[in-house]
Amino acid sequence: MRKRRDTLKNAEQELRIFRVRSLLAILFVLVLTGVLAGRLAYLQIVQHELYTTRSEKNRVRVEPLPPNRGLIFDRNGVLLAENRPTYNLTLVRERVDDLDETLALLVDLLELPDEEIEAFNVRSRQRQRPFQPALLMSDLSEDQIARLAVNRHRLPGVEVEAQLLRYYPDAEIMSHVLGYVGRINAEELRELDTGRYAGTHFIGKTGVERFYEEELHGEAGFRKVETNARGRVLRELGRTDPVPGRNLTLTLDKSMQSLAFELMNGRRGSIVAIVPQTGEILAMVSTPGFDTNQFVTGIDVASYRALQEDIDLPLFNRAIRGHYPAGSTIKPFMALAGLVEGVITPDTVISDPGYYQLPNDSRRYRNWLRWGHGRVDLERALAVSNNTYFYSLAHDLGIDNIHEQMSHFGFGQRVAFDVQGESTGLLPSREWKRARFNQSWYPGETLSVGIGQGYLQITPLQLAAATATLANRGHWIRPHLARMVGDEPLPDVLPGTLDDIRLDNDAWWDRVFSGMEKVLSGSEGTARRTGVGLEYRMGGKSGTAQVFSLGQDQRYNADELEERLRDHALFMAFAPIDDPQIAVSVIVENAGGGSTHAAQLARAMTDAWLLRDDAPEADEVLNELENGSATVEGN
């Protein structure tokens, strides 16, 4: 009985305990539910906007629409740079079941080199988000595309994507002047406006492509798309179309450029041709050239090294960066300097014993003709390329005046408006020598400069620009490569144009021109063989740039010298004299004297521009050069 009573009592007590405890449990449940409700209210009311933004950022992706790059034409509308559709192989890692197996299959199918796989591994590590395709191989051939199409079912995650790629139809001929585009590198990326270049992978690296990058590139567009978590685009929410880059019409004439390239015939050197009245650059060739298209798709290491280590330096743009002694081509400008400064008149005559001596100095500065030319005036000095006349003139002018006057012709500075990477050359002065060597200027050095040797160094472009200015009777027009940017022509007067050169007597120009005409047409002219059969009046001046200097009283025989130690041949010319249409500078490295080789090429250029279809072809000119005498006469 007692036990029974106990249990009954206990049952009551147990029920009471349970009721109190479950009441507490209910309270606890309500408190915890309140905590949850509070948390949800915090997320959904207080932080609602933050999470709405986050969810929109998840859902909406802004995709850049890169603009099409502007095309480049020559002055006659011939296409020089175009955008060609190419096909790239991309791979989305997240969609591939077995990466190693897929890569092995691709290597097998496409005969991929190992470097491509290496490069792919690097690129796929640089991805910014999952499901972003990584480039495996660019510029697939039709055969490769076909093989991929057949095996498509075995290659999930592997896609063939179309892309516009820059293409240069005349890559080698245009290589230096046009330049090329290449993949944007890390350094360029830091400087770029990332908004404008969103989605753009290429940027102009050299030449016109670099200088007119801004105009050629255009403006990127954007489209807003809704994507799911796997990055698949579900629909387009809105878009701003890209503004394509502006087309560029150059001043270059493709046929002139091709001719210049062919005339060089594989030799090292440069030809630059300018229209004097307008400053339009018709041709600007540096040889040897190279295939710029290789740089667009990405050149392989071996080919790049081969180009870099080539002894002929094909990557080097001689036309604007090659430093050459001007040689005797400086003489017309020296003559003009003398006329401007009043040191000489066209009628000044000197007597040439075959050498020049500075006062109180025994050293003899030799004329190229050992026994001298006798009585020499301005015109004859130019025609026969007399050194003694110009030694005397240089001495009378002094280095300060020479520096001043030569800079008016553009030497020692960048002359063109839109040529990327132009070098200044070197126009020496007392200050320059003091800064460079911490030495004072010696009078003998002035004489060297007077005949275009010594410290003076010019670029082929500078020589052509100076020749054009001379042909314009001192009127400067800044040389340029662009004729039209989009539909807009370049302004008539370009910024940075140099001041005109004025002579006291305008007829003196004709005297200088006459001297230059006699170079080609006079009985004593150094290039009289080139002047045979001229159908218009042409003025020019030959030059020889010593690659290595001779000691006092030494003579040399060109045939005995190693090819690369032979002198550079230079020639500058313009025609017709009464109404100059073209100014040319020619430099052929190690071709011996300028009066034969370089003069022939210069005339071929003026013939082509003035006679058009009646002009001889490049191979005819080259044949004649081959058969004609290779004797060096004068300098």
């Binding site: 206990n10 479950s22 997320l43």
Partner: protein, 387 residues
């Protein structure tokens, strides 16, 4: 007067009615079916709402909804069958069920299958493959309730020690599988029985202090992935694309839903697949995104009503075993809700706990509705026991 007097009449009806006086009384259809209509109605509303959310969360695949609905059908049938059994049956079978469960946990430790980096599964090849730990979530509290039923309450220290052993062994065996989530839920369910039985407050405070002190030891014995979960919980942005992804996406889904939600099938986080596990453990984030705070509060109120009704039914049982076990079942149900919603909304670390009767999946629905079946059986058979 006890505080229960303030509860509305409809809820009060069964418990306060005087015991059957022997006079023939017409039994209602629900009494004959041994079911509680209020609880059943709320469960059905919950399941129906769950199916609605599931349709959206599964990417509008009607197949998923049909599969889930048929599982609900099976689970409801199981619930009905269990509700017909006499609670004394559960009491009788408790030691055996517990013993078998323990043996299987040991078997898992010795010869279990490894899945997802943990030994959880026991397989009789070609016949069945299951997790004994899942079964023990009901088995351990059942055993504790059965044991305490024989003791005088509030339990004395010796009884509590025995309970600690009953709870400790399977919990440790589960924890070393390793399955920390299940072992903690198992421990919670069984501890609730002891708490409801009247564990002294001083002891509760002492154990709480002990647990707090034991945290560092627990941390040192955790596996790397478990530690990672805790770290991610503390700062999800430390690894936004990796382990922090789930919690960032789920809070984003809930938060962007706002007060009224984006509308059914209109949630971008869910429909565009940014939300991971969206039809299983993280399904509530879909509700939060598409139905907003309003939808979430309706759900929470529904759960609270179910828990309240369940506790009310448990309190109506005159027998210790039934009370304790029923109370434990219903409070465990609430713990599921709290842990799931807490984890998805970012106030608890991510543990694999589904949202009761809403998340897609068969096992948990069956276990849960089995629990409700037992609860209804305890309620419906109370007069038989009181005799």
């Amino acid at each position: 007067m006890s505080p229960w007097q303030s509860i509305p009449r409809s809820f009060r009806r069964h418990p306060v009615r005087p015991p059957d006086s022997g006079i023939a009384r017409r039994k209602s259809i629900w009494e004959r079916l041994h079911l509680d209509p209020w609880l059943l109605l709320m469960l059905l509303v919950l399941m129906a709402g769950g199916l609605l959310v599931l349709y959206s969360a599964s990417g509008q695949r009607i197949e998923s909804v049909i599969a889930q609905a048929s599982r609900f059908g099976i689970a409801l049938a199981g619930m009905f069958v269990l509700a017909q059994l006499n609670p004394s049956t559960f009491l009788r079978w408790a030691p055996l069920a517990y013993g078998v469960g323990l043996a299987m946990l040991l078997a898992v430790e010795i010869a279990g299958d490894i899945g997802m980096g943990a030994k959880r599964w026991l397989e009789i090849p070609g016949v069945i493959r299951f997790q004994p730990s899942e079964m023990m979530k009901l088995g351990v509290p059942l055993m504790v309730a059965a044991y305490l039923n024989r003791c005088q309450l509030p339990p004395r220290f010796r009884d509590i020690a025995v309970c600690a052993v009953i709870i400790g062994v399977p919990v440790v065996l589960t924890a070393i599988q390793p399955d920390l989530g299940t072992s903690l839920l198992m421990a919670a369910a069984a501890t609730l029985v002891v708490l409801l039985a009247g564990l002294s407050w001083r002891l509760i405070a002492f154990v709480a202090a002990l647990v707090a002190a034991g945290m560092p030891i627990l941390w040192m014995n955790m596996h790397n992935y478990q530690r990672q979960r805790v770290l991610t919980f503390l700062d999800p942005d430390s690894d936004p694309l990796g382990s922090g992804w789930n919690i960032i996406q789920s809070t984003t889904a809930i938060g962007s839903g706002g007060v009224w939600g984006k509308g059914w099938l209109e949630g971008t986080q869910s429909q565009l697949e940014f939300l991971p596990e969206r039809h299983t453990d993280f399904i509530i984030a879909v509700l939060g995104e598409e139905f907003g705070l309003v939808g979430m509060l309706v759900l929470l109120v529904l759960y609270t009503l179910i828990v309240s009704r369940g506790l009310w039914l448990a309190a109506g049982s005159q027998d210790t075993f039934g009370r304790l076990f029923a109370g434990s079942i219903i409070l465990t149900f609430f713990i599921y809700v709290f842990v799931n919603v807490g984890m998805v909304s970012g106030i608890l670390p991510v543990v694999g706990v589904p949202l009761p009767l809403v998340s897609y999946g068969g096992t948990s629905s069956v276990t849960l509705l089995a629990g409700f079946g037992i609860l209804m059986s305890i309620h419906a058979h109370r007069r038989l026991l009181s005799r």
